[in-house]
Symmetry: C2
Subunit: 415 residues, 2 copies
């Protein structure tokens, strides 16, 4: 990379935070290099729909180069970051020469964390990346195909699923899986007793949706139970193997599919960078979103946390932080002081299934059931990037809603 006379900002990660940062520097007199291991942005709130065959993988992903086609100060690099040399102001990747920076923005997000639960890393399926979601869909569909060839497998738990973790991801996934089983696969496999399958949602805390109000957690529990999801709260998972899950109270649940949605930690890049980290391995940042020891290094989103003011690990704080960091960089260029970041909470949402979602807004407004669902659907459609994806998602959703069909249940050749 040639030396540049302009201030160079390197942004690591094309998630919500990274994209927001780069977009907000549209008119800033800097050169931006955006690095991500994938060439696409994943709209992660809809991962569970890919995992349950409601949407195609392409529907929730958008080519990063397409996003920044008209923004001339951006260079996109598809590469995995292997090292950050904080003193030399350099980022090293698996391709090409090291990339030097004047300002670094670390927005590499979080990864799944299994807290040392025995067998979880080997046997549980994860729900953090687009590959995870597609692998989960494939795994579940293959269990059904296997049972179609040998129905005796059903008694061994081939069609059972245990979802570990009762937060929004676990709740959404459990609801959507049950719908997939009872509404779609029951018709696809008329000779199988699909209704003998079990979906068990296990949460170590006393209730579902711990980050929401108790009434919302209770609402999710009732709705899921009505839809045949079994819910176990107050009990942790002690061990996972290829065909079952064992709980802390000794209960063994036979299941050929186990999904881990019970925790994340900061991307290991936080450690590679050698910056001070706090809870969950997150890089410590100050009120200005900068690292206290290296003011030219900012960190935002799930990889970072201000110990005085930790924020929920969802899209909105990352997006707002990204815009704020872009503004901070502008301040620095003009020798103005940095400003403190304040999070504007716009609410939380979780969908539980067909026509049912929970939306909590600041000030106490709370929507549930069909109204919550419509709010959830509208907001996600608006936030999905790019006309094409929006139109396809709308077509898919309308189709799913009208027919209980799922289009995206393709499997590669049988093993």
């Amino acid at each position: 990379m040639k030396p540049s006379h302009r201030h160079r900002v390197v942004v690591i990660g094309a998630g919500f935070g990274g994209l927001a940062t780069v977009r907000a520097m549209r008119d800033t007199a800097v050169d931006v290099v955006l690095i991500d291991a994938n060439n696409f942005h994943t709209f992660s709130p809809l991962l569970y729909q890919v995992a349950t065959a409601g949407l195609a993988a392409d529907d929730i992903a958008y080519a990063v180069r397409g996003v920044f086609r008209r923004q001339r100060n951006v260079e996109v690099r598809m590469a995995r970051v292997t090292a950050i040399d904080i003193d030399a102001h350099e980022v090293r990747t698996n391709v090409g020469a090291p990339i030097s920076y004047d300002t670094l923005v670390i927005a590499a997000g979080a990864v799944t964390h299994t807290f040392g639960v025995r067998g979880a890393d080997e046997h549980a399926l994860m729900m953090k990346t687009l590959d995870d979601a597609v692998a989960l869909r494939d795994h579940v569909l293959r269990r059904f195909e296997a049972a179609a060839a040998d129905p005796a497998l059903i008694a061994e738990g081939a069609l059972n699923v245990v979802v570990c973790g009762g937060g929004p991801t676990g709740v959404e996934l459990a609801g959507a899986l049950m719908e997939l089983f009872d509404r779609v696969l029951a018709k696809d496999f008329p000779r199988l007793d699909v209704h003998a399958s079990r979906v068990v949602l296990v949460e170590a805390a006393d209730r579902l949706l711990g980050a929401f109000k108790p009434a919302s957690g209770e609402r999710a529990r009732r709705t899921l139970a009505k839809r045949r999801v079994e819910i176990v709260t107050g009990v942790g998972v002690s061990e996972i193997d290829a065909t079952s899950v064992t709980l802390n109270n000794g209960t063994r649940i036979p299941a050929h599919t186990v999904i881990w949605a019970a925790g994340v930690r900061a991307n290991p890049l936080a450690e590679i960078a050698g910056l001070p980290t706090g809870r969950g391995g997150r890089i410590v940042i100050d009120d200005a979103l900068a690292t206290p020891t290296h003011p030219e290094v900012f960190a935002i989103g799930d990889i970072a946390a201000n110990p005085q003011n930790p924020l929920p690990q969802v899209a909105l704080p990352a997006i707002q932080q990204g815009k704020h960091v872009a503004a901070q960089i502008g301040h620095r260029l003009h020798d103005e002081p940095l400003t403190a970041f304040h999070f504007h909470d716009l609410g939380s949402m979780a969908t539980i299934g067909r026509l049912d979602a929970i939306a909590e807004f600041p000030g106490g407004l709370r929507l549930a059931g069909p109204f919550g669902w419509i709010a959830w659907l509208g907001l996600h459609l608006i936030r999905l990037m790019g006309f094409r994806n929006r139109a396809n998602v709308f077509v898919s959703w309308a189709w799913n809603y009208l027919t209980y069909d799922r289009g995206s249940r393709l499997l590669a050749e049988s093993e």
Copy 2:
């Protein structure tokens, strides 16, 4: 599988021929078992659009179980056929017990054939399956990402593509690749000299589109040449390695992407079955579409050929044969004589790029340019199965046409 009191028809292959056969037995008093290695049908005429990022893989595939949801006499098995025991009337697969049949319909299609060209199997990308198309798209996009990290690769041919084979697949692919390069990737990679890339179409015969009229082949040549595709006719390929293609006349073309679209032969299942085969390894069938030695075994589509009356290896003959076989099975059940199959030629089509296609109809009518393109587009939309896919394809096409954008250019994590 339990013995059935009804006549059991086993159909191998969920391509155009297999699906048509099963559908046409909707009201026939038989039990049908449809076996395919994938759980989806591939709309193969649009594979080249997946390979060039115009459509998502899901757009041209349709879950087989979804197709036959309402047809109660069908059982779908996702399995790879490992053996056919013609004497025992049994099909063996990689999963479950052998499946016995009263009537067998072999519709397993064709596979790529490289005619022993050195290096072709190892280094060339194929264009026969959905996996092939996705792998090709990934390969091409990765070459661009690699060049973005190291522009010196361009001089070594990193962005060059050689397409071997000037039939409809090669012509469509060459045109669509050039469009992808010049219209889409040139904008995605503003720092790369994308216009320095080459797309070379090599055909051993003297002209393109040998199965079409000479005027159509000439039209394709002119249009492709105008769009910057280099065309080499009358010269075969002698060797392919990882970074180049060597032609029979000694010319060496540097290219990090080589696509083999120059030939197919019958699915190896034709040999496994132990039935007499003819040219291209195709199972010999008679006028009634049955194998002469085993009247209870029918073979249709690309895996079969009547030596007296070989048909083009495209969707239409397979579909018509499928319907005819279903009728033959009805005749047998009612002790009526079999009837001879007659192919109703409805014409041939090939698209060359944006707003340009060739359509030849029986009786000499020939459309080219925009009118051919509109005929091509309409016919393919109508034939694509399932509302959802049709709607998504339409959205994608409209989007591509209006914006020169391509939505489906996602890559998994960099190597």
